[in-house]
């Protein structure tokens, strides 16, 4: 069975979201799911940093509907 290859360079290149981006992403998840802040943060921690930044970007661009798709894909 072929062993799954990892890409350390790509992992290292993953940029963590800023506090502002995280706040936007939390706001978006809270609005969509109706959960509290702690739950929203926990959910976001389970996602790749790039996805969190993408959610924040969509939220800031007032495109929350697209976040719904992103959350469940």
């Amino acid at each position: 069975m072929a062993k799954e290859k990892t890409n350390p360079a790509a992992a290292a290149a993953e940029v963590a979201p800023t506090a502002a981006q995280l706040a936007s992403a939390v706001k978006s998840v809270m609005a969509i799911i109706g959960c509290g802040q702690i739950d929203a943060l926990t959910r976001l921690k389970g996602l790749p940093a790039s996805r969190v930044i993408q959610i924040a970007s969509l939220e800031d661009a007032n495109k929350r509907k697209e976040v719904v798709t992103l959350l469940y894909s």
Binding site: A31, G34, C35, I38, D39, T42, K65
Partner: protein, 308 residues
């Protein structure tokens, strides 16, 4: 024997302040049926237990920040602990690690009902539905040698403020509100398998929030307010504010300071009654039933909002 008293609830690392009651219940389902020959049951058996932790808090901003409108997951990362303090001979909680806790690591902490009356602090009833990892392990672990957590001062409280609702270009102001009640409408339920004593699954098949507001200004009902057939409302044009008392108890935090609670809703508003008893003033009751707008949960709660 030493007396004990409810002390606190902790969700994850957050100690919930302002509790006014704490109820830990096991909700056992016991069968004891009589059969032929004697009226007395010949076999009593516990077929199920559905433990719950239920409590209410006046610190609604902190509590809502935890639960949101649909609930907060209780798990290994964010466990739920109910504390009962052992009372010492001086009548106060005793020192040291001598207190009781009920700890749960699987469940859902739900907001059940938010109530707020004119000139009263808002209160939030919460309930945690708890379940087992495997149907055999009890959902609640009991410990009697625990230290108490540090309590947050219960001086952050909110009360009724302005209410408006509607759609763009047709916003209605609810005049002279007297009471607000939000039933969060969670249909969460725990489920078990194979006659296990404890449930091992949880589902949230429905969330149907209903807001009920009463007021003494009849203008909210009629041609300038909500017509008899009802009125559609959306998040952008609906705002129910709970304003924060100043922490020193003198007046309120300024409207422009983002420390108030703002609740918005998408759904349908309808006046259910205009009621008066004897010669007392009449009251109008408005009911708002939440619905999904395609993106957002029916209720949106911002616990750090300015009042517009």
């Amino acid at each position: 024997m030493a007396l004990n008293t409810a002390y606190a609830v902790k969700y994850g690392t957050t100690v919930l302040a302002g509790l006014t009651n704490l109820n830990t219940s096991l909700n056992p389902e016991v069968q004891a049926e009589s059969s032929i020959g004697t009226p007395f049951p010949q076999f009593a058996v516990i077929t199920a237990q559905k433990p719950r932790l239920a409590f209410a808090s006046n610190a609604v901003a902190a509590a809502l920040a935890v639960t949101g409108s649909t609930g907060a997951k209780v798990d290994g990362t964010n466990g739920l602990i109910g504390y009962y303090a052992k009372i010492g001979d001086d009548g106060l909680p005793a020192s040291g690690s001598v207190h009781r806790t009920y700890t749960a690591n699987r469940g859902l902490l739900l907001p059940r009902r938010l109530t707020c009356n004119h000139r009263q602090s808002a209160s939030l009833d919460m309930e945690a539905l708890l379940f087992s990892a495997d149907g055999a392990a009890h959902p609640i672990a009991i410990a009697d040698n625990v230290a108490l957590p540090t309590l947050a001062t219960n001086n952050i409280q909110h009360t009724l403020a302005g209410i408006s609702f509607g759609l763009t270009a047709s916003v209605v102001t609810f005049g002279c509100a007297q009471s607000l009640s939000i039933d969060f409408g969670s249909g969460a339920e725990t489920l078990g398998c194979g006659s296990d004593l404890y449930d091992a699954h949880l589902q949230l098949p429905s969330v149907k929030p209903v807001i009920t507001i009463t007021g003494i200004d009849a203008a909210v009902f009629g041609s300038t307010g909500v017509p008899a057939v009802g009125k559609a409302i959306d998040h952008a044009n609906t705002a129910i504010y709970l304003r924060k008392y100043a922490t020193n108890g003198i007046g309120f935090v300024a409207n422009g300071t983002a420390e108030h609670i703002k609740i918005t809703c998408h759904g349908l508003a309808v006046v259910t009654q205009h009621n008066a008893q004897g010669t007392t003033r009449g009251e109008v009751t408005l009911q708002i039933t939440g619905s999904w707008d395609g993106t957002n949960a029916p209720l949106q709660i911002d616990t750090a909002s300015a009042i517009a």
